[in-house]
Amino acid sequence: MVKKKKDSQEITTLTEPIATEEAISTNDLRTNLEEIKTWDGVIGYILRNTTSAAIDLNDPTKIIDYAILSSSALEASEELSKLFNLGKIKNIIVEGKETKVLSLTVGENRISIFLEKQADYEKILKKLQ
């Protein structure tokens, strides 16, 4: 009985720090994104990793389209990196006539930020990198 208890404690001790680090990293990103969301010209963001996703968009009807668009853009950039030997992708910007999307990967987190056409993404990149 005592032995079992000890085992479970050990496991907890081993896993805790890793989980905390990941949580901090993702939480930091989320905090930054929440701040960015308040900036002028920012429409919203999607933050995804292997275990969770956070979406904050002004227009919820566009969630699916935006989610597919941003994941397609990130996948396309990976393909381009292989084809043209671009190395690690720093970011991808997809500009439409009305909106633009800044997508990037931070650690295991895939981030896409949706901006109005005239918004400045350089400031956002500085904040996130």
Binding site: A76, K88, I89, E98
Partner: protein, 276 residues
Amino acid sequence: MDNEVYSFALKSALDEIRNICPDITNTFIFKENGEIIIGDEATPEKTMAQVVDAFDGVFEKANAIGNIECITVDGNNGKVNISCLNDLYFVTVTSKKADINYVNTVTHVLIPTILRLLEKICPAPLNNTSILPETKPETKLDLQAETEEPEPLTETKEEDKIEEPEEKETEIKSEPLLPEPQTHQLMVENLGGLLAPSDTVRIDSVILSQWEDQYEGRKIEEIEIETFDGKSTRCKVKPIKNAKYEGKGTIQMPEKIQETLEIKKGELVRAKPVIE
């Protein structure tokens, strides 16, 4: 001939851009439906097709942001830029040391100017089909053999003009000059179902009509399909039934033909009519 002029002008422009900016490693132009218009010497057709294929999902959902104007992929070793010029997308790949402002100045001035000029001179080729240099069609030799005949034919035509006008007409009819088959680049889509014949592909009725017009109303029943790896096959052709695939530059292809050509959904192939 128009295609040749276009091809030459655009290809020269792309190659010239690479000469002016050596940091530009690859350039090519494609249409929104995935049709590749032209590429520079350094970029294999297969690579162009893979790039277009990679952005398929992005273009599908581009309506959500008001259609694509520009895409920039920034990597540690270089950048890729895709700019929309009217209905065309111009791709430039640059090394990491490239002066992007200089590159943009050159590409965003030179290419639109040439496209505008070409459009004024003759708008047809960009609206109709790809102007990539075509692989020599198998029927070309036969066509050449046919085109060699007419020279003496025209001479006799003049001579016989007064005496035997009826005979001249029959002579011309018996050896018509067939134009070179117009090739289309199409994206492969799956074609399945219990009633779908395994030897028949489906393509846009507009393309079929274009070919039929080109060959004076002859019904196109067979086409030749060629992959970018050089594999080719002949098969029967019918118009697309499913409205979802109409006008999108696709070719619906049964699994068996895909296996023969060693291709799969999303890849690009060339198709041209078989005229016998």
